[in-house]
């Protein structure tokens, strides 16, 4: 009788190499085809937004041209003047034409070799306007979500950590805000502030605050009584330190996921407000505003309406795909 002997010489006794949480998440994200598609789409729009004109190349130079005797120590005035100077000096780079220059003879011209996406209702190059529109939409989406996350996190963290009547009142307030469909509340806010790009940004940020506040509060409540927090308290850590160094990192994953999806929603809301004539005002090349203009000429020149809508859809799709991918990659437990 022959005995087969197990050859263990080739079996490694070493542990697999240590993979950090983020590296592991990134590995999972890369394997997700849909998420990669989302990242590619967003990458394209991001490049469009950044390199639409020479803005980023001019900015370092104009920084030194700001007249500080005019702006004084006011940082907002400083940035405003810097932005205005840079914008004045920037020349189209990726965009083939100036997005606000109208060629009257080419009004509503369909796509051609010189103008691949055609001309809009006053004779501006559609492709250039779409490219510059990426800048407006991404800015509105990202800035409003960052604002909402900052305020929402603060509210949710404090409310959850303190608990008791503070928590009760704050959360009832959030419930009331959530009782409004988001766009309706945004409409109400725009009514108060008046239409415009910046006011729209505020409105969109305000309506999404409760989402983040609730998210963070839930994480804080879940961790508040855990042993490691107790340990931190025992060694004498202060409230602020416990809250922001011990508890908050736990809320990071849901915030990142919700934030990514939230940018998509914010872009859709911004486009909707622009479309209703209550967001960015013409001649700003904002996709929703462009669609609103296209409405009257849609049936004689459909290309004016099709391309901005397509741009909105692709960008939002990109954020949705990436957000879903991030949820699966960062926290496999949340997979639906």
């Amino acid at each position: 009788m022959t005995t087969t002997q197990l050859d263990i010489s080739s079996v490694s006794t070493e542990l697999p190499p240590h993979v950090g949480y983020l590296a592991d998440a990134w590995r999972r994200l890369k394997r997700n085809k849909l998420a990669v598609t989302g990242m590619v789409i967003l990458g394209i729009f991001l490049v469009m937004a950044i390199f639409a004109d020479t803005y980023v190349f001019v900015a370092p130079r104009t920084l030194f041209q700001v007249d500080t005797s005019q702006t004084g120590a006011n940082p907002i005035a400083f940035v405003k003047q810097w932005h205005a100077l840079t914008k004045k000096e920037a020349r189209p780079l990726l965009a083939p034409y100036d997005p606000s220059k109208a060629y009257l003879r080419l009004r509503k011209a369909p796509p051609s070799r010189e103008h691949p996406l055609g001309m809009d209702e006053v004779g501006r190059d559609m492709l250039s306007r779409i490219i510059f529109g990426a800048r407006v939409s991404l800015q509105v989406g990202v800035l409003s979500v960052i604002g909402a996350i900052l305020v929402g996190t603060l509210i949710g963290a404090i409310s959850g950590y303190l608990g008791g009547w503070v928590d009760n009142i704050v959360m009832r307030l959030m419930d009331i805000v959530l009782a409004f469909p988001s766009l309706l509340l945004a409409l109400a806010i725009v009514t108060i502030l008046g239409p415009g790009l910046i006011n729209m940004l505020y409105a969109i940020a305000i309506v999404s605050i409760p989402t983040y506040a609730r998210l963070v509060r839930a994480s804080v409540l879940a961790e508040k009584e855990s042993d490691y927090v107790l340990a931190a308290r025992a060694v004498g850590a202060g409230h602020v330190r416990i809250l922001f160094r011990q508890i908050m990192p736990n809320a990071l994953t849901p915030i990142i996921v919700q934030g990514t999806l939230g940018i998509g929603t914010a872009i859709l809301d911004a486009a909707a407000l622009g479309f209703l004539g209550l967001g960015a005002q013409p001649p700003t090349p904002e996709w929703g505003t462009m669609l609103s203009r296209a409405q009257q000429v849609f049936f004689s020149a459909p290309h004016i309406g099709i391309f901005p809508g397509l741009a909105i859809m692709l960008t939002v799709l990109g954020f949705n795909l990436l957000g879903d991918g991030l949820r699966d990659a960062l926290d496999p437990r949340l997979r639906m």
Partner: protein
């Protein structure tokens, strides 16, 4: 059950008060004299004075709020500047228009979303599955108003199958009772009117219903896949039941509760969709009214419409919550 309903009704009170405060504050936050804002830019000094007295706008803020609530209790939402009639009168026909649209959209969403989700789960990882998953992702990302424009372009202008906008064709009359034209036509036995109203409703309903449809399809799929992994399904399969019977007789029932929940959560999407779609399809509903009057600075109507819109939303949510409690007794003991 009754205790649960009573508790939910009690919880409604602070929310409704909150809504009333937000709409109350809204007009007072607009820069300028509230009396002039409510009386309109072209009002005479005398008219402005009358509005100021009626709403107590020269009194302290908390007294103003009490006056506002008293008027609200009497069903007085103020007067519209554009039409010079009671705000309630303007809302009377706008609200049912929006509700009819929302219901029709939900019907479309369920009718297509649930079967699509079942097929995707049943044939997991097939082309069907991919089609449903990618299609629903695209649907969620699509701007509603853009979809509306495309629908009009293709089905009304190019193919001529559908009327492009409005609620009824010229020459068709419906006696308004509820304000929901399809319902009114059925009540009065007006068959031609019903078909015409329905035809006008289809495209807006598809536009509004697309996002909920996508969400419902995804939820049905994932919920069904979850249930199909359970032991009792393995038992059903093991005793030799056909896959069809396993899904329809055993799995679906348990897979539906999350789907019902998500359907309820889509109400907000529906109402928001209505705001955007009504403008494109020229439907005289709440959404169009609000947008219209923001642009023409008819603030009393905006205020009243936002209030009624939000309150409707809250009440429908309440009904949804109560129906869950009915479907799933565990919820009652939360």
């Amino acid at each position: 059950m009754i205790r649960y309903i009573a508790r939910r009704l009690l919880m409604l009170i602070p929310v409704l008060i909150g809504i009333s405060i937000i709409t109350f504050v809204m007009i007072r936050l607009i820069p300028g004299d509230p009396a002039r804002i409510m009386a309109g830019e072209r009002a005479t000094e005398e008219q402005v004075q009358r509005v100021r007295e009626m709403w107590g706008l020269d009194k302290p803020l908390h007294e103003q709020y009490i006056i506002y609530m008293k008027n609200l209790a009497r069903g007085n939402l103020g007067r519209s500047l554009k039409r010079n009639e009671a705000v309630t009168q303007e809302l009377r026909w706008a609200l049912p228009t929006t509700i009819e649209l929302a219901f029709a959209a939900m019907f479309v969403a369920i009718l297509i979303g649930i079967p699509a989700g079942i097929i995707a789960a049943y044939k997991q990882n097939s082309w069907w599955d991919l089609l449903v998953m990618v299609g629903s992702m695209v649907g969620i990302s699509m701007p509603v108003f853009w979809l509306g424009l495309l629908l009009i372009y293709v089905f009304a202008l190019k193919l001529g199958w559908m009327p492009p906008s409005g609620r009824l064709s010229v020459g068709i009359k419906i006696t308004p009772i509820t304000g929901m034209y399809t319902v009114d036509a059925l009540i009065t036995g007006n068959w031609r009117g019903f078909v015409d109203a329905l035809k006008h409703l289809i495209m807006p309903a598809v536009a509004v219903g697309t996002i909920p449809m996508a969400v419902i399809a995804r939820m049905t799929r994932s919920s069904l896949l979850e249930v199909l992994r359970q032991d009792y399904i393995r038992t059903a399969r093991a005793k030799g039941l056909a896959e069809r019977a396993v899904i329809f007789r055993h799995a679906l029932k348990n897979a539906f509760l999350p789907v019902v929940t998500i359907i309820g959560l889509q109400l907000g999407t529906l109402l928001v969709g209505a705001i955007l779609t009504e403008t494109i399809f020229a439907l005289p509903g709440m959404g169009r009214l609000i947008v219209d009057r923001i642009l023409s600075r008819d603030y009393p109507v905006v205020q009243g419409a936002v209030l009624v819109f939000a309150a409707t939303f809250v009440f429908i949510n309440l009904i949804v919550d109560i129906s869950y409690a009915y479907l799933d007794p565990r919820i009652r003991y939360d």
